[in-house]
Symmetry: C2
Subunit: 461 residues, 2 copies
């Protein structure tokens, strides 16, 4: 098909939307390592996990074999309210960059949560409702996950308690108000409401918090209340599973127009967006059907893949979660108040960590001011004001497109535009005023985090 | 076609998108009255108008005869970046309300300006660029128009100077930052930068401003600078013309599925969204092809249609603009700091005023807290957090759907969801905290405004 016929935005028809999630683990030769019980160092059983998570979600967490999992009808119905997300051909950006590359982005920002997070939130809320729970607790970094979960809980009539990383809470008061509008209770983390919050505040007075702290608090509160479970917006296998809707739609849209991607780029915090976006492409790669260059982009201020250790570590700062094998900066690593709140996480999805470890994908780290410059350039030509997280992927996509200009290669670049930056104007204001700074941790800074990673036989790094 | 087959969201294909705007005036028996020169009380000539507005836009302003006007290719190209806007079937809202009514809404919020305003902004920026201008000046109320114009100017490389109504400037600091990200200069109005601003501040110290004030300042600044013209986001015939893209897409989407609307509902401030949405339907009504119930919804705090006078009046507070025949509360009426900034305008589009005067449409005024309650209910079932302006239409659509439940009528209700409320969280916070109040001007309040309407033979009211 002639490239000229490709519209600016490819929308799948409702009947073309995926009806199943794709479980990439089924196609992985090296499966992600199991979660370990930190007391026994044995793999967590379904029973143990069910004390924290919903039962159906535990099944999904542990299922390394079923390649396709049906999306329940009520979730499909909710998906239809805000999906399919458009796959956009960035004609204007290509023109601006004068590149022979063909650039596409999957835009997940056309919903009130402002990001892809709603894809998993609605699934997790559904299973909680099905199990007869009263409510759920969670953490949120940039606020997208908390907003998404608030929306999902409002839809199914569940109580929603959100622990919001303090620096985001302060920088984004309006995010909090969106969550409240959807009926959620929002608490800045670390807080005095939990044991772990009080402990962290005692040790690090004035801390701006981190996803790791907020997770500890949310897990503690779920355990304390009857009829509550904890839900998480990233990192876990179940979350990546739900997020495969992104990649499946992307692939269906490309296939519809006979387009073959050469390169898939996504930002990586805990890995939910990247994992979801790349899954069907990585599946083809794993099955030897087709090769793709796959690039994870992370902030230089929180470089878990590019500078972390591949080891078992806690998912949270308070060390109340199971141990997960992943690229980690150490669960006690508290990143600087980098504005890409959603990328301020010390670890990385086990699935992505394993794939990266096996050389199936690359990782790059980029600095904040360069990212905001790319975000601003992108906004001016493509119209969409991107979330700082998403702008990490934009930056690398633009760099790759510029390389194509030099080499003359007509590569097809696909990147994930995970969301909008409407609640990140505090950060944009800093950039606009020229007061934004970059931060790269020194090896000494990182060493402190690594020292906190638990040591036991089989966990050498 | 069976109703069951209608998807949640109807997207036109790119080739189905309108290529022409529709000029409703060509089908009106009673044309909107011409703009008058306030000095001579004679109709404004193209030459006179060209001192303020771009030439091509002046032609559009004065053209009462050409039914269809081609959309220039560069504008069509820009439209493709964020349009077509979806026509959404509100299945979840229908279910929640248990109504036999079929509810559809045209959602214009899927772009960074957050509203329909971009439809005219890009057109006006294009014509300014074509004329070789350096830049444009404008006012903005809620901030959507200013954001839209900033985006359009960034795209075409024009300078953009925005006078933002002070109460919005203060309530929405992040809106300002979005405009700055797109390269615009933003000044709170009334300001000390203009003669009229200084005059208004002297007369009303501490005023929270109004669209009328901001218009005066922007017009003054356009006149003062070489190579600048003034552009306006609503009220004018040209703006309604550009906004017909909303109604044309809506009608094409309904026609595609064989759906006949019974009722069209839109919020009305200056009239740009309502005029654009209803135009093709009103055209059918005027030509006697089909009847529709058409409802304008305005805030009770600024009730130009329901309580205003149909008379010639200034479009601005400073009385620097031509006189326009319209429903008006008086150009010196300064509305309360109602949060629906975009609806805080003393007058109404001439076209809509004439249609209303001729009994071709209805108007209703609604109070703020009821509107926010409807907005919150809508957000929780349909996912989208609406702009307060849009929520006026939601409220009436929901009321009408509830009436259908009582009567058992299966009416098809179409309303305009002009935008998102992401920058209105200050107002939502007030509502969430239970501190939002209603304000309805007394007859005495209104009398003061009416006293300011100029009196001359032929302008009796």
């Amino acid at each position: 098909m002639n490239t000229k016929e490709i519209p600016y935005k490819i929308y799948l028809d409702e009947q073309e939307m995926p009806k199943q999630w794709y479980n990439l683990r089924a196609d992985m030769n090296n499966k992600p390592a199991p979660l370990l019980n930190p007391s026994t160092l044995k793999p967590m059983t379904a029973e143990e996990l069910s004390q924290v998570f919903c039962e159906e979600l535990v099944k999904q967490e542990l299922d390394n074999d079923t390649p396709y999992i049906d999306i329940p009808e009520p979730i499909l119905k909710f998906y239809k309210m805000y999906r399919p997300a458009p796959l956009v051909r960035a004609y204007c950006l290509e023109e601006k960059l004068q590149t022979p590359a063909k650039i596409y982005y999957k835009f997940e920002g056309n919903n009130t949560s402002g990001s892809h997070k709603l894809n998993s939130a609605i699934a997790q809320a559904y299973y909680a409702k099905e199990q007869g729970l009263k409510g759920v607790t969670t953490e949120t970094g940039a606020g997208q996950w908390g907003t998404a979960l608030s929306m999902a809980c409002a839809y199914f009539g569940l109580d929603c308690q959100v622990y919001m990383v303090k620096c985001s809470y302060e920088q984004k008061p309006f995010r909090r108000e969106v969550m409240r509008t959807y009926g959620a209770a929002v608490t800045p983390s670390p807080s005095m409401e939990t044991e772990i919050g009080r402990k962290i505040l005692a040790e690090h007075p004035g801390t701006s918090g981190s996803l790791g702290c907020a997770i500890s608090e949310a897990v503690e509160m779920a355990a304390k209340q009857d009829g509550y479970r904890y839900v998480l917006g990233s990192v876990l296998n179940q979350v990546l599973l739900h997020q495969t809707i992104i990649g499946l739609e992307t692939k269906a849209a490309l296939d519809k127009y006979g387009v073959k991607a050469d390169m898939i780029i996504g930002c990586a915090g805990g890995g939910s967006n990247l994992g979801g976006l790349i899954s069907p492409f990585m599946g083809e790669k794993l099955r030897g059907e087709r090769d793709y260059q796959i690039i994870a982009v992370e902030p230089a201020s929180c470089p878990s893949l590019t500078r972390g250790k591949f080891a078992y570590d806690y998912c949270d700062t308070g060390m109340v979660t199971p141990l997960q094998k992943m690229y980690t900066l150490g669960s006690n690593f508290i990143p600087s108040a980098n504005h890409a709140g959603g990328l301020r996480y010390h670890g990385m999805s086990s699935i992505l960590s394993q794939l990266y470890h096996d050389g199936l994908m690359e990782a790059r780290s980029v600095e904040q001011t360069a990212v905001f410059a790319a975000a601003t350039e992108f906004a001016r030509v493509e119209g969409i004001l991107p979330a700082p997280e998403s702008a990490h992927a934009i930056y690398v996509a633009m760099e790759e497109a510029k390389k194509c200009k030099e080499t003359g290669e007509e590569k097809t670049i696909v990147f994930g535009l995970t969301g909008t930056g409407y609640f990140d104007m505090f950060a944009y204001e800093k950039f606009n005023n020229g007061t934004m700074t970059d931060y790269i941790p020194t090896d000494e800074d990182l060493k402190q985090g690594f020292d906190g990673i638990p040591r036991f036989p089989g966990n050498e790094f």
